[in-house]
Point group: none
Amino acid sequence: MNRLENIRFVLSNTSHAGNIGGSARAMKVMGLTKLHLINPTDHPSSEATARASGADDVLYHAGIHDDLDQAIAPCTLVMGTSARNRGMDIEVIELQQAAKMMVAAASSEQVALLFGQERFGLTNEEMQRCHYLVRMPANPEYASLNLAAAVQVAAYELRMNWLAVAQQVAEERSEEVPFATAAKMQGFYEHLFQVMHEVDFMQAENQASLAEKLRMMFNRLRIEKHEMDILRGFLSAVNKNIKK
Amino acid sequence: MNRLENIRFVLSNTSHAGNIGGSARAMKVMGLTKLHLINPTDHPSSEATARASGADDVLYHAGIHDDLDQAIAPCTLVMGTSARNRGMDIEVIELQQAAKMMVAAASSEQVALLFGQERFGLTNEEMQRCHYLVRMPANPEYASLNLAAAVQVAAYELRMNWLAVAQQVAEERSEEVPFATAAKMQGFYEHLFQVMHEVDFMQAENQASLAEKLRMMFNRLRIEKHEMDILRGFLSAVNKNIKK
């Protein structure tokens, strides 16, 4: 399996069709083909097809989603492009480091790189799904990287890292750590929050901030599958034993 | 003198105005400002200005030339983007190596990176002005790198090398994250195991292996103090609400 096939680019709420087409071309030229779109404003469109040029197959096979959780469901590593974490407890790393990590993980796992809406970037909700935020390099006096250009730079850096790994004569065996997927994480959070409500630890007032803190903590951890089973088992046991 | 100011991008016979604007933006976002155009088909144009976005100053100050020799006159190192040397005795190097050489030379010399016409690339005449040809990385099955995208990738690689040389990457100070002490962790584990016993999730038989797995998981996490407070609060709430 080609590692690059395990890396998906997820474009959220893209407003310009040209950027979608440009992104498809930018990806394919670097050997990346998995494009996922969340609520694109204008798709499919002739403009995107024109900009995609010979990469219209990437466009044609793009996954279209209503919400982020669906778009990243099978992924165990989710990164979001953003220069700032807006005070949230998410580590911000440089693109080069991020690409290295993504290529390493992609030997056996599904990986997502998330791009926010052109003007506003990632929402707080979107950031809360990310294990890391990725800072794209830019001139501090003019950091206005166009979306398709950001996709191009990220795709290039991924290809460079992929080539470096591929060149190693003896490839390090991946450790086959089976991390929990985003879908499993989502199920876990729902269970956890439900139990927290039942024991009156989580209330309407503190729900949002508590949920954010818990997501930040567990995303940092990158829970393995068997650990997830333990946590779910514990929550179920609590479920069975609470009063009322 | 900023080394990046000694590196000029020279676009020859560009036919699409959008590519000129896109290139200006792609350059500026990486801190490059010296754009030179040889016989652009359509310049100046509103389309280029629109695509340049906030980089219209790069566009406005671009040098316009009738021929290549004029465009590269002050340069001591000239590189051309092309995957093949068409049998000419010009060394072809990879972009990463080229960027390193250009940044090194730019400490005291003027350097040019040349981009050919969109469809046909560099002419033989143009190649003959080059000290090196630069191979842009690309998927061998689809190597159709758009001109502005090629400019973006080259500008990015130059910026990365410039940052490395100048060592201007401000090292992130460790943020003095107040992690939980070992004693606090021990208290947390005791509390957690006690609750797990009470809900019959932990029993004498599985206690040792479960404790080990949980310790491994939470140690990997390095819990912060405020997160510890949340977890302890949750456990206390469960305590209060269990039957018996």
